[in-house]
């Protein structure tokens, strides 16, 4: 019974990590941009949910409204970041890490000045409170919702990448930027769209986090390191790797935490990732190219 409960806890944590990392793997995969402000885009999504709840009132309606609007808010922030800073730095991917760290600092402080330093409360709708009992096992509805939402996001993204012309362009640029440009794909436009979608996913992740934890200026920093580890372990350029890595990390954390403590579990997960990268330096799944890296 405990094992099944932990299995669910792990998958649930994995789905949270997946939502946080999905957008990252897109922007990191396509442009090599390491967006440390991704966590703050999540925070922006969470505050979007807070603001909407303040306006709408009903927790259920506001949650359903917040998901698309969080996507738009996160996406617009990403677009702004891309247009003002990132686009001039594609040749210096490592430097984007530091620039976006600066952006993250500023966004956090802005949130503090606008919404105040204390956490704010976003109520969960009534239909998400409590748990579903299955054979004596209580599965919290919020976590089931997040799991389902993560699946929806992954499927939607996979379909978008596979079946739409836009998706094909994105995949082409991920796999070989120069070749794609040579074949007439405007990588500028594709980059913008990718950044919009990737950052928008952060916004969605932020909205869902309001169901689980605190909504405050530092919401994003709690997730950013883990999200990057997921991307690194998963490998660049394919959703599959990100999904597996997120779930593996979630399960590892849950089971290590169960048998040791939460602190030790975090350290063990890190050790496991370093060991894993010894076996697969490019992550779980990687698009191999012939070019001299």
């Amino acid at each position: 019974m405990d094992i099944i409960a932990q299995l669910f806890a792990g998958l649930s944590l994995g789905s949270v990590l997946l939502l946080a990392a999905l957008g990252l793997s897109l922007t990191f995969g396509q442009m090599g941009v390491i967006n440390m402000a991704h966590g703050e885009f999540m925070m922006a999504g969470a505050y979007t949910a807070f603001v909407i709840q303040g306006v709408v009132g009903d927790a259920g309606v506001s949650l359903l409204l917040a998901l698309p609007l969080g996507f738009v808010v996160g996406g617009l922030l990403g677009l702004l970041l891309e247009a003002t800073l990132i686009h001039r730095m594609y040749r210096r991917p490592l430097d984007t890490l530091l620039v976006t760290w600066g952006v993250a600092l500023v966004l956090q402080q802005v949130a503090r000045d606008v919404f105040g330093a204390p956490n704010v409360d976003v109520r969960a709708p009534a239909w998400l409170s409590g748990a579903v009992e299955i054979g004596g096992l209580a599965l919290p509805r919020t976590r089931l919702f997040i799991l389902a939402l993560a699946i929806v996001c992954v499927v939607a993204l996979a379909l978008a990448l596979r079946a739409t012309p836009l998706g094909r362009r994105i995949r082409a640029v991920v796999q070989n930027r120069d070749l794609a440009e040579a074949s007439g794909i405007s990588s500028r436009a594709t980059d913008r769209v990718t950044f919009f979608i990737g950052s928008g996913l952060a916004g969605i992740a932020g909205v869902t986090l309001t169901l689980l934890g605190s909504v405050g200026p530092t919401l994003g920093t709690n997730y950013i390191v883990d999200a990057f580890l997921v991307v690194v372990a998963g490998g660049i350029g394919q959703i599959k790797g990100t999904v597996i890595a997120a779930m593996a990390l979630g399960l590892m954390q849950a089971f290590f935490e169960y048998s040791t403590t939460a602190s030790v579990a975090k350290v063990l997960v890190f050790v496991a990732i370093v060991a894993f990268l010894q076996l697969r330096p490019q992550g779980l799944v990687s698009v191999r190219t012939r070019s001299l890296a």
């Binding site: 405990d2 409960a5 932990q6 669910f8 806890a9 649930s12 944590l13 949270v16 503090r112 330093a117 204390p118 956490n119 704010v120 409360d121 976003v122 109520r123 969960a124 409170s129 409590g130 748990a131 209580a138 919290p140 509805r141 919020t142 976590r143 169901l211 689980l212 934890g213 605190s214 909504v215 405050g216 530092t218 709690n222 997730y223 954390q253 849950a254 935490e257 169960y258 403590t261 939460a262 602190s263 975090k266």
Partner: protein, 422 residues
């Protein structure tokens, strides 16, 4: 070619010479050595200037970083107390001049800024600190400089520095009464949940000792890293342990995630009440009233305390900072700390540290929480313990009271079961 290498040696020589010079100066500048064991540190001469119409005091709170959420509130109530005192003629006729510093939520910065306030700004006393880490960081600074710190937050005890006055609760004024209350309610088993740092660890050590002596079973003890946000595993353990109550020493954001998860798996105060010692009125809003309604807290002050002094304090605070701002225990303790210092100074008729500490014993103040008395031996104050229940209005209502102020006992020397704890 020869010339080129000469220039290289030239480079080496210059750097060698300057290095050597520095080393020589460094070694010749050695000061006093300590004899092992003896404590003969030469304390610096105080530079506090009381000749004018004003006297400087320092406020040292984290106004940025993760702790700013909590410490800003303390800072605000300190400012309020200073304003009131100045409006009322100051201390010994001198107006208070505030030097405010930001501790940036980092112990190292607290130590640095404490040094600055004492030696550069020459303040007569410093008020502030929140985390145990920040207090521990400042303690040696205040002792070395023989200056005064007023620390306004409940903490883990096991400390009494001659240079610190502790106006928050020590363990026998908060944790022990909370356990007494639980025993009174018939609690037979407890689950301990805490953040992984010094206060929860020490608190749980005390709880374990208490439990052993009072026939309570500790069915689980879990720690989450500070800032931990995923509590499904820990809440799973709590749920399956099925204790009579949960004793919660989690800190900050973790409380939000814990209580949301607690509610999400379908548990409430009716099934398994949670007694928290770090959730005050400020935090309730952020956690969400619906998630903590009916849960218990242990403090020495609530905004709902019914006393003329508290009515005045709450009114003044809301007038200054807004109707929506609640008042909480650490804020009240900070507010009280400034008045206590004023009372000590006035009793001693001096701002000098040794005079103030000498006069401290027995100084009283009619604080919002009720009358408090300074214990001159351990520098803590006698406080009344209050167990509260979080109401639907977001405020905390007294459920149980120790009735009398409890004498501070930071080392729990007066409790038989606590032998061997420290």
């Amino acid at each position: 070619m020869r010339l080129r290498s000469t220039s290289r040696y030239g480079a080496t020589r210059l750097s060698t010479v300057s290095l050597a010079a520095l080393c020589v100066v460094a070694l010749s500048a050695c000061g006093a050595r300590v004899d092992a064991g003896s404590d003969t540190s030469a304390s610096a001469e105080s530079c506090v200037d009381t000749s004018g119409d004003t006297v400087k005091i320092g406020f040292l709170n984290s106004l940025s970083g993760t702790m700013a959420i909590s410490e800003q509130t303390v800072h605000d109530s300190l400012e309020l107390a200073a304003q009131e005192i100045n409006a009322d003629g100051g201390v010994l006729g001198k107006e208070l001049e505030i030097v405010s510093e930001d501790g940036q939520s980092e112990p190292t910065v607290f130590a640095e800024k404490a040094g600055k306030l004492i030696t550069s700004d020459c303040v007569a006393a410093v008020f502030g600190g929140w985390t145990s880490a920040s207090r521990k960081a400042m303690l040696p600074v205040f002792e070395a400089q023989d200056s005064l710190l007023f620390y306004p937050v409940q903490y883990e005890g096991l400390e009494s520095s001659p240079n610190i006055f502790y106006t928050g609760a020590t363990t026998n004024q908060q944790i022990v009464p909370a356990l007494d209350y639980l025993v009174e309610q018939g609690t037979k088993s407890l689950f301990l949940v805490g953040s992984d740092y010094v206060f929860p660890r020490t608190a749980n050590k005390i709880i374990n000792a208490y439990a052993e002596a009072h026939d309570i079973e500790i069915v689980g003890e879990e720690y989450a890293p500070l800032g931990h946000t995923d509590f499904s595993t820990i809440v799973n353990k709590v749920k399956s342990a099925d204790a009579d109550a949960v004793f919660n020493t989690l800190n900050g954001d973790s409380n939000v995630a814990f209580f949301k998860e607690y509610k999400n798996v379908g548990m409430s105060a009716d099934d398994m009440p949670v007694v928290s010692v770090s959730i005050a009125e400020e935090e309730v809003g952020g956690i969400g009233i619906e998630n903590v309604e009916g849960q218990l807290t242990a403090w020495n002050y609530y905004q709902t305390v019914d006393s003329p002094a508290n009515t005045a304090f709450v009114e003044a605070f809301k007038a200054e900072y807004g109707e929506d701002r609640p008042t909480s225990d650490p804020m009240e303790a900070a507010y009280t700390s400034l008045y206590l210092w004023k009372a000590m100074v006035e009793k001693a008729e001096s701002f000098a540290v040794e005079d103030v500490t000498a006069a401290a014993d027995g100084v009283t103040f009619d604080a919002p929480e009720g009358e408090v008395v300074v214990n001159g031996d351990n520098h803590h104050i006698a406080k009344t313990a209050l167990i509260g229940k979080i109401g639907a209005d977001g405020l905390i209502h007294t459920e149980w009271s120790s009735e009398e102020p409890i004498e501070p006992d930071p080392y729990l020397e007066g409790y038989d079961w606590a032998d061997g704890l420290s």
